[in-house]
Structures are given as C-alpha cells and as structure tokens.
Chain length 146, copies 4
C-alpha cells in the first residue's frame, strides 16, 4: 500500500475512535515524520469551572491517540499493533480557551517493538504541557489492542 494511502487510512481510523470523536480531537496530519492532532478548547471539556481549565484526562486521551497513530504511520505495511506501555508526564495545566496541539513520532523500531515520543503544547513544543513515551508490539496480540 502506498504511503499516502496508508496515511489516509490511519487518519480516518483515528478520527473514528470513540474517545477521539467524543472530545472533538482533530487529526491535523499523519506522515512518516510523525502525527499532529489538535484538541480544540470546548466548554464541555472543562474539569474545573472556576479556572476554565480542561480536564487533564483529555490530554491523556490526546497523547495516547496521537502516539498510536505515529506507529501506524511508521510501519511499512498496516498490521496489528499492541500498546505495551505508555507513560505521560504533566508539566503544567493547559490554559483556558486555547487549543492543545499534540505531536508524536515513532523514533525507533526494532524487529518487534516500536518506541514513541509525544508532546502536548499550545504554541511551541519546547514549552510543553505534557510529554509521553510509549512502546508498542508489532504484529502481535500481546498487550492492548490499539
């Protein structure tokens, strides 16, 4: 399958994942160099009505989704992958009324395992809201089904 076709399939799949669709996550781009998702600010995402800050779980969902897509974008042919583990570090709360961007790359792939890195931010990746690292099994049914 040509890359462009695979990227389009990954984007369509990601859009239709229930967690992504429910939060209004937009798939901005899927490419060999990584994936970019956007979470537009919305009142229904707010966890703390006093501060207007969105619930942190929305950032988790965003980073989880974009990391899995980065693996699909990096494998040469579409195959089942399974998340082995995911770790998310939170630097600071997202700011009210601003979209959150998340970028993920699959930065290393061994025979069976893919490694991802992702960052969530408002404007610049070097001023992060949160970082994530993850590992995924390729072509296997171990771990979770992504």
């Amino acid at each position: 399958m040509p890359d462009a076709q695979r990227f389009a399939l990954v984007a369509t799949f990601a859009k239709n994942v229930p967690q992504n669709a429910a939060l209004g996550i937009r798939v901005v781009s899927v490419a060999a160099g990584g994936c970019l998702f956007e979470l537009p600010y919305a009142d229904f995402l707010v966890g703390n009505p006093d501060s207007g800050v969105i619930h942190g779980g929305a950032i988790t969902t965003l980073l989880d989704g974009v990391s899995g897509s980065a693996v699909f974008a990096a494998v040469e042919k579409l195959q089942p992958i399974a998340t082995l583990d995911l770790r998310i570090d939170y630097m600071r709360p997202a700011e009210p009324h601003r979209a959150v961007i998340a970028h993920a790359v699959c930065y290393h792939m061994s025979k069976n395992v893919a490694f991802t890195r992702a960052v969530a931010y408002h404007h610049r990746p070097d001023d992060p809201i949160a970082n994530a690292v993850g590992t995924f099994m390729l072509g296997t049914k171990s771990g979770r089904s992504t």
Copy 2:
C-alpha cells in the same frame, strides 16, 4: 466535610468528566480503600471490527479516571490535585462483549505527593488486562489539573 459526603462529591464529579461520560464509564464505588469504575462493553467502543475488541484508549481513559478519583477519595479534605505522571502497562487485549472493571488505590501519601496503583480486569484483579501507577501533587498547580 464528612467522608461520605466527599465520596459522593467525587463520584458525581467523575461521572461528569467528558471522557468518562462519553465512553459510558460507571462509577461503581468511591471509598477510602479505593475506587471501582466499570466500562460496559459497547459497539461504539470497538477499535477492531473483525475481533470486536474495544479500543485500547478506552482502557487508558478508564485507568486514568479511576486513579485520579482514588486520590480525591484518600485526601482528608477536598483540594486541587495535579497529575504529575501516569504509566500504564498493558498485558493483553480486553475480551469482546465483556465489561472492564478498574480498581484504584492511593497506596501512599507524603506531604506533597500521592501515589496510586490501579488495575483493569474482567473478573479477577490477578488476571489483569492492564496496570497503572501514577503520582499526583497535592494542593498545587504544578502538573496537569485533574
């Protein structure tokens, strides 16, 4: 605030978090000894139509939500908490047509930091689908807003 009242508030809050509500997550119990959430099986959660297996991100959302609630259930008075980090390990995919249960405890609390442990499973915690460990700052605005 009496414990029972705080537990009821935590349960109400958790039910209304957008990610939880969107996936149909049920708050089964909130108590000093931990929290129990349930994710009923539903067709719209399925990530892989061939296998009927729900999308792994739903497990992430479930474990993330129940872990934060476990901290709120463990603190003596309600206060802002912020997730510092969360790690999730996936042992195996959830099985089709079965609810996923998640149990979380806040197993240690130092002056500023709470530590959680959570497990997702179908029937028995010792046959896990996934495990999570997390750390949360108490009474601070560092990290993410939960």
Copy 3:
C-alpha cells in the same frame, strides 16, 4: 534444566553482576514465586553524610537487579531476555543504618513479553521505600541485554 538448578544459576549470575557486587547486594532467594535481594547498610553507600541516608541510586540498582532475576526465575528455560523498560517510583528515603530488602515477581508472561513488579522496603512490603514495574522481551535481542 530442573527449576532448582536454574534458580541456583540465576542467583550466581546476579551475585556476579558488577553493580550488585560493588554495592554488596546479597541474593537472599530465587524462586518461582519471586526473588528477594538485600542491600546491607554501609558507610560507603551514603549519599548525604549529614543524614546518613544511602544514595538513591543504590535503590535503583537493587530494584533493577531483582526485577531481571525475577524474569529469569519465571521462564521455563534459560534464554536471553532484554529489558524494554523499567519505571521506579520513590516513596521516601531509606532510613540510615538499616538494610533495604527488595522483592520482585514476574506477574504476567505473554508469548514475547514478561511483566515484573518489585518493591523495596525495610520491614514490611506495605510500607515501601520504592516500587518498580518493568517489561522484558523474551528470547530476543531487542532492548537492553540483561
């Protein structure tokens, strides 16, 4: 190879790992149900002369070592394993002049991946100094060589 013979081999191997030997780590037991290592208190381990508290890296080394041995103790036949990742959470400093005990189990094994959990403590595992979770690839050269 009979279990008892494999356990003895694992114990001998662990004792001779340079990091373990250098810190004076004792291999107390290796068994199917898990491994128990001990780090006796020693002046040369102290990181902070004012408090007499041992350097935290010694706890890392202890938990890392006991986790890998737990996988070797759990596999049916000796084979190369490779650490995929390891996460350590620290609850509190070790207390001066007390040995640190570490217990690890391999609590789940899928076809290719083993999952471990370990705890470091003075007297009781439910009053931990630190917890660790890890994943290991079986029979492969991915990841680090353990």
Copy 4:
C-alpha cells in the same frame, strides 16, 4: 554560589557516588545546559561473556546518575532534591568494546518539581541505546534522597 562553583561541586559529588565509582563512570561535563557522563567499556561490566555486551544495569546506573546531576546543575542554589520516579526505555544492547555516553537535561522546572530527559548512546544521540525520563521534588524530603 556562582554557577561554576556549583557545577564543580556537582561533578565531585557525582564522581564519589558508590555506584558511579564502582562502574568507572566519568563525569565529562556539568553545565546549565545539561550533564554528560561516560561509561568506558570494561571487561568486568560484561553481563554476557559470549557476546561481550555489558550488563544492562550499568546503563540504568549511568542514566540514573546523570539525570540527578542535571537537576543539581539546573537549580539556582544547591538544595536537597528527591527522585520521585524514573523511567528508562531500552532500544537496543550497547555494543561491545565501545564507551557509552549519557546526556541529561532538566528541561522543565515548576515550583516544586523538576523534569529530566536523558539519552544513552555510542556516537549520536539520535541513535540511542536507551532513553530516560524522570521527575524530582525540590527542597523536600519526599521520595528518595539523591
């Protein structure tokens, strides 16, 4: 205390940590922009005599040590810090007869918490042997004593 003086103190401290000294870890540089440590190859570090590959725990020790130093190098005045957690992902075994380099930065600091990122490699950071992320409490006795 001037930066240069603090960096020199951090380097001296790191050299004298028992785990570092025992493995022959060299403190190459300590600076505001990060720390660089080197683990020279040595026969006594070998975990697998057949392959000549050094024991993976040596990489853990190296990344643990350089991450803590990166926090000391980044704080404005020397103060107690405590590791909250550390996660290490292993991409591949180190190669025989080659030194392992580790570089760590403290990439974010909130009021109470410092966040680190580190990479171990032979020649180029973008061809990593292992990556680590960690969090540290500042000026507190929670967590482990570093």
